[in-house]
Symmetry: C2
Subunit: 435 residues, 2 copies
């Protein structure tokens, strides 16, 4: 996008264009970097430049702001750095899936493309090479809302393969929309992890001053030196650019549509924090690296549905779902309730062989089927309590469980067992001010 008048005039005077390298002085501080294209979200008097370390800054300019061109973009080669592997650094496998995070900005046109090679990723975030040997390949190039079971299965296979070949970590740049679902799926599919599998996303595209892509990627890469053997998500902790949070893959949920600190660990403390300088602080409870080899078990039943109930939900809509599903996760109200007319339909579905699991649409807290009469009716009908699992995690888990057994007592046994940190046994039904 073209810059509005004030910034455009400033650039024109300096004979500088998008893609050129410039020096700008704002509030007594001088910045040098590549002029990025204007973004529709940026304010009109803000010039965005990409610094040498990959971070973008947005600079509010006046007609008098000193700005000079240092190098023409056309004279710069398309940024591709061939980086030799350093045997002292950990090898990290980057598995591209698409999404804002993995994209690569063509400085000459401003167009955003997925990074397709290690070289492109390295030039996109050059500081990554200080942390690790980047080994990148692109598995998919999908909007995350289009990721599904097929992609989870492939990702699990590739992540295991790379860890078993010696990668110290697998980093999966991923669109944020369904990052939590994928993280949960990989958590159930992978065991004996010799290193972390790190889902990482970005809420603001990399051509914007407020992009969170760099810090998130750097923090993800830093986990290659940590003693961590589980699937996690790493995202901005706050709105500032200082720390990222390490979330357990089965407990993380996108809780804001647009903030950079959108991701939250629910029903337990996050596993830890990665500081911008690479220091990792653990809050306790994370799983260390296993001896390996990493095992993949990615069988899944895809005919599993997630249904949030609401007042007046027509029973025949539930029936329509039950007919098409081998399993249904309900997000009930409160402790795990549904309206009366649904109880008989649920009972019938269970008799017909559908596994029904109850979670809470409150998201926080456990279900409790023995507190009120409606819960007891549901328990008697054969509904499996989802404990404190997120509805989304329970969905993915039920898909995985039904891929392995359809025997009701085994399904129940697995659903109420803590397989991958998805259930917090320390969370009491009433953790606040118990009687």
């Amino acid at each position: 996008m073209k810059y509005p008048k004030r910034v455009a005039a400033l650039l024109e005077r300096a004979k500088a264009d998008v893609g050129d390298e410039v020096q700008v002085t704002v509030e007594d501080e001088t910045y040098q970097g590549i002029v990025m294209p204007h973004h529709s979200f940026s304010e009109k008097d803000v010039l965005t430049i990409k610094l040498a370390n990959g971070y973008n800054v947005g600079l509010r300019v006046t007609p008098e702001t000193p700005l000079k061109r240092v190098a023409k973009g056309r004279e710069r080669s398309v940024p591709r750095r061939k980086v030799a592997a350093n045997p002292d650094k950990p090898n990290v496998s980057f598995l591209g899936t698409g999404g804002t995070i993995a994209s690569y900005v063509d400085y000459r046109t401003g167009a955003v493309y997925p990074a397709l090679s290690a070289e492109e990723l390295a030039s996109y975030a050059p500081d990554l090479a200080d942390i690790c040997n980047v080994q990148a390949r692109v598995l998919f190039s999908l909007l995350s809302e289009d990721m599904g079971g097929k992609n989870w299965r492939r990702l699990a296979q590739e992540a295991a393969k790379d860890l078993n070949r010696g990668a110290k970590a697998v980093v999966v740049p991923h669109g944020t929309d369904t990052l939590g679902y994928t993280a949960a799926a990989l958590s159930f599919m992978l065991t004996d992890l010799t290193g972390p599998v790190v889902l990482v996303g970005s809420q603001r595209s990399s051509d914007r001053p407020s992009s969170d892509a760099f810090l998130n990627l750097m923090c993800a890469a830093h986990l290659s030196s940590a003693d961590l053997g589980e699937v996690v998500a790493v995202m901005h902790e706050e709105t500032s650019d200082l720390t990222c949070t390490v979330h357990r893959g089965t407990k993380v949920r996108k809780m804001h549509s647009s903030r950079r600190d959108a991701f939250r660990t629910l029903n337990e403390d996050p596993l830890g924090r990665v500081h911008r300088d690479g220091e990792v602080t653990w809050h306790g409870g994370h799983r260390p690296r296993a001896e390996g080899p990493v095992k993949v078990d990615n069988k899944m039943e895809e005919r599993v549905a997630l249904l949030h109930v609401y007042p007046d939900l027509p029973p025949d809509l539930f029936d329509a779902w039950a007919e098409r599903s081998r399993g249904i996760v309900l997000a009930g109200t409160g402790l795990g309730h549904v309206r009366k007319p649904l109880v008989t339909r649920i009972r019938k579905a269970i008799r017909d062989g559908v596994s029904v699991v109850m979670t809470t649409q409150c998201l926080n807290g456990r279900v409790g089927l023995y507190v009120y009469s409606r819960g007891r009716e549901l328990a008697r009908a054969g509904v499996i309590p989802g404990e404190d699992m997120l509805p989304e995690t329970a969905l993915v888990k039920l898909m995985w469980v039904l891929g392995h057994t359809t025997e009701p007592s085994e399904v129940r046994g697995l659903m109420v067992s803590n397989l991958a940190g998805e259930i917090n046994p320390k969370l009491r039904l009433e953790e606040s001010k118990p009687d």
Copy 2:
């Protein structure tokens, strides 16, 4: 439930029984009140007594705890206080719907019954009479998961009638599970409110030491003296017994299955706070009392569905819903996305006359259909942006809107207009660290 051994022995020595009035000294403090039945959630060495003001306390006893009987329960009459109306106090109408909050404990048996009259409510929370003239009647006696459109319509009528007859506030004790849905429905149905309509619930039943029923009821009643003319929910602010939060009816959501401070205002600040002593602090933005008379417009289309999308949601499940519905609210991923195969089905449903509104399953933040390509496809297909509305509020609003018009441009116009505080125009798509 019977008390376990230690408490039972102490009571037996004092010849005291459930329902008797006792004096107990614990940690140099002496308490006098009625012995409540043991509750399955209570710890085994905790004795629960109900103080004169209606609050319960749980006292941890030892075999040496001084405890004496003051009066036999059988000698006390069933607690019914006839309270004369005081012309200096505001009249407050309590409309019972059922749920934990409205229940009345029979001290002799420990059984929990709904409070059926003003007298019962007054004896259940005697301090209410210090605040207002209690005028109570029971409309329904339902678990809140069984409340629906029919009940909302009746409640709206009764609330309007009572305010138009001079009540300074209408307080609606309600089960917590669907309290938010009912609050939203009343918000759209009632206009020109001459006083507040206050939904109030309790997360812990009134026979438990940790019950939140009393503080919540008292705080709700205190709003009868406030200059407030909208539908609100009043619930514990924290886990302590000091303050309640006043939530706007269209912005409130139950965000925890069991905590006393389960309710949260999303996407704006709560309207205010009621202190235990009755003082009300406003955070700005609440609507004052209107001149009236209160108007009711409770027409609704009930064939409206709420559907949370997830990876691999089968398109034919969407079709099954579309066939049965006049309107569908989607809770999409992120800024309001769905997987690709759903787009054509959504387009078809819209062509067939179904109104489709997009909200976000992140719950926090706005939808933004013009940021990514999938959003633009949906916008072109005719999907109506739900702005920053809660999915539940958008459901109730669409029911209400479709009760008044099915003309697509009118439906759209109403859905994107802020009718009852359900849209926060100040919330930017990216309110944190804008570029």
